[in-house]
């Protein structure tokens, strides 16, 4: 395997957050990373550094990763203060060393937020996102009960907008980028995707109320319209969805307060 001639070689200093566990003290540690190819991905660079640490008998840096093509949402480094690093609309795993200069010092930290407790080094626990989805981020469609897929036409503009929102990979960069550690972009993306589609209408009100309520209970902050979330989002999801969710939430709250409820709603006919 011959390296492409377009590749340049560079040396950088990594300043990495090391923390053995949630209760252990953490600190930055510097590592020299030498003779790197500019065609290497950022995570491949970490692989190389980790192999060197292993051979020296030191414990490698724990970092979250899996698909390495920007779609699984596992990777979660804040690089030089930016969640997912310097590129726009990409994840950490899609960051290549050609984005850095020879001699750079690169600061690598975990995504930091109260609702994302640290596990080890650069790994954090983002299960709060799963709990928000479990609270209402779905359309109830029991397997086997679906009508023909073309029975309800969906205007292309709505389907396209729903897809824009659905592109969220659940990585949590929006939370890490926000000074309030708000999860509004994540929650609004799911609320908007399902709320835009005709299939999502029956549960639209209860969905937004349940998801927002769970988000608040899990310790995420509120939105103060700085839009750092969209800027950091690897899928460039628009903050317009936050406004859409706020409208949905308000309407649902009002309706929930005044909507008549059937007295026998929970009972069956026997």
């Amino acid at each position: 395997m011959v390296a492409e001639t377009t590749a340049k070689t560079l040396n950088v200093t990594l300043r990495v957050w090391r923390q053995a566990g949630p209760d252990a003290p953490g600190k930055f540690v510097d590592y020299a990373a030498r003779n790197l190819s500019s065609n290497m991905s950022f995570l491949e660079m970490l692989d190389v550094v980790n192999d060197e640490l292993t051979m020296k008998g030191e414990e490698p840096i724990a970092f979250a990763h899996d698909c390495r093509e920007g779609i699984c949402g596992t990777c979660s480094c804040t690089i030089n203060g930016k969640p997912h690093g310097p590129g726009h609309g990409i994840a950490t795993c899609q960051t290549y060393m050609r984005s850095f200069q020879d001699g750079d010092t690169i600061v690598v930290e975990p995504f930091r937020a109260r609702a994302f407790p640290l596990v080890k080094d650069l790994v954090v626990d983002r299960s709060a996102f799963d709990r928000i989805i479990q609270a209402g981020g779905f359309i109830t469609a029991r397997t086997g009960s679906a009508p023909d897929a073309n029975a309800i036409p969906v205007p292309k503009t709505d389907a396209d907008l729903a897809m824009d929102a659905a592109a969220c990979i659940g990585c949590g960069a929006c939370v890490a980028a926000c000074k309030n550690a708000s999860a509004m972009l994540f929650v609004s993306a799911k609320v908007s995707q399902l709320g835009l589609l005709p299939q999502g209408q029956p549960e639209r009100d209860q969905r937004v109320l349940a998801m927002v309520g769970t988000m608040d209970a899990l310790g995420f902050g509120n939105c103060t319209n700085q839009y750092e979330c969209s800027a950091a989002c690897p899928k460039a999801i628009s903050h317009d969805f936050i406004a859409r969710m706020n409208r949905d939430y308000l309407k649902a709250s009002v309706r929930a307060a005044f909507k008549p409820v059937s007295a026998s709603a929970s009972g069956g006919a026997g």
């Binding site: 492409e4 001639t5 290497m40 491949e44 920007g70 779609i71 479990q134 009960s145 679906a146 292309k156």
Partner: protein, 640 residues
Amino acid sequence: MAQLDSKVPSGPLADKWRKHKTEIKLVNPANKRKYEVIVVGAGLAGSSAAATLAELGYKVKNFVFHDSPRRAHSIAAQGGINAAKNYQNDGDSVYRLFYDTIKGGDYRSREANVHRLAEVSVNIIDQCVAQGVPFAREYGGLLANRSFGGAQVSRTFYARGQTGQQLLLGAYSALSRMIGAGAIELHTHSEMLDLVIVDGQAKGIIVRDLITGEITRHAADAVVLATGGYGNVFNLSTYARGSNVTAIWRAYKRGACMANPCYTQIHPTCIPVTGDYQSKLTLMSESLRNDGRIWVPKRKEDRLKPPASIPEADRDYYLERIYPSFGNLCPRDVASRAAKRVCDEGRGVGETGLGVYLDFAEAIGRLGEAGVRERYGNLFDIYHEITAESAYQQPMRIYPAVHYTMGGLWVDYNLMSNVPGLFVLGEANFSDHGANRLGASALMQGLADGYFVIPYTIGDYLAGQKPGSRPSVDAPEFKAAEENIRGATSRLLGIRGKEPVSHFHKRLGKIMWEHCGMARTRAGLEEALKMIPALREEFWANVNVPGSAATLNQALEQAGRVGDFLEFGELLCLDALRREESCGGHFREEYQYPDGECKRDDTNFGHVAAWEYQGPGRAPLRNIEPLNYEFVKMSVRNYK
């Protein structure tokens, strides 16, 4: 010797599944909650199965090694999902989808399974739309389709270049709904390390919590494995780094047969390798072959020239030339071998000579840059991030890479392995794709198995198990399995050798790619069968796994998985050696037609090879399930 009864129902092909559904046993609704089912994995097959079984009323435990079920690698599938909806009115039907799939698989899959797959394909699209999957639509609001390899109709449904993501998030939302309802107990960061067999039946698993290191026992009335494919035995592949063979390999070592491990799909359109540090290869979706044209220069001397400077007359659009009726949309195995041949002739492009052009100039002329961007924008962006080149301005350079594995644990028509109570779904089983999988069929199979097959067939097994009869986790079989895992873990941590785990994975991958990749020979495979055991011995003597077992230890996780790949790789090569024919994703140079096409041997190899473990250091047993083609004639695949 294992009993391999396929349990294919009798009767006409198109009636088998309907008839079977009316004849298999049912579990009474009030009894369903008395049964516990373990589902390992939460990709398309695992999450759809877990959600649907929970909807039916079974108690489900779902185990994933990821931090969330949404991370499973189904998420990365780009292009689409096939279904015989015939919404385009272009002549599609269940029979045609069945026929294309069985032909695409080079006549090495089971007729009845493939027909069932084609039948339920239409239900999958209905189900996903009902869940809010935002499939691409036409301006009139109806669903859009595109074409994929090996088909002459447009039957592929898609959500931009992220179809797998959207289908998985749909299944994940169904799974999440049932978790929220308390019907599923979700265990994240939990890696299955052993299968527990009690009285000859699968009754539980041993799991390591990847964060705390805690090892726990879990008992159930049935175990469902939906743990994906084993392509990372090649180290470099389009798989996620975490994808592994461990769950199915350990089930194999407990008696489940491993079928056709040599059938590996090498996908023709991936970004070429650039260096030794590389950790993964990135796929460029097959959907690009709808509009991209594949070519290399006619003359070797031109291979390093800027592509735009090579006139049309000096280009060889070799797929269009060799396969005029399918052209750039011939099946993956055919397209990959054709790319290898032109590169072997010295006409490959790029510095390494291991690349061919995928050119969109004609499509940009026809659709405009905006039109191409709407169809493939995200793929062009991915290509740009990795290569720093714009495919709008110059052709992509692509080369085949390991992408999918058709082999897997042997299952019968009910998706149950030869170990009673052990069910295997999705890529982890062997059943539906034969020797080669057509594009947009993996998503179809994963969801068919999870939503529409296992919910029926598991009842047939559970109805024969007395409610509440599952063993306690204090049973001696659980204790022994747990001790076995603890022993293996401390052994890995105790070696403290000189080389990191990645060193062994890279070397194994190199052996596999060179000796058991796109072109295999007897001599090469025999060589690999000597090299792999030697490498395995070196691994167990010289690997360095730092840290402890009582914490998040990614090196330990990797070491366990690579240790299994070092055993499994040998079986894969052995299967490839013993299958003395070429078919689909298994190409033996000795068995080919003069034009380089696969030469099958239906008389001697028209069967499934299901390998049975015989204990450490002993040669595995090669069992055979004959493939009886009652409805389709096994013939030479022709895409010309």
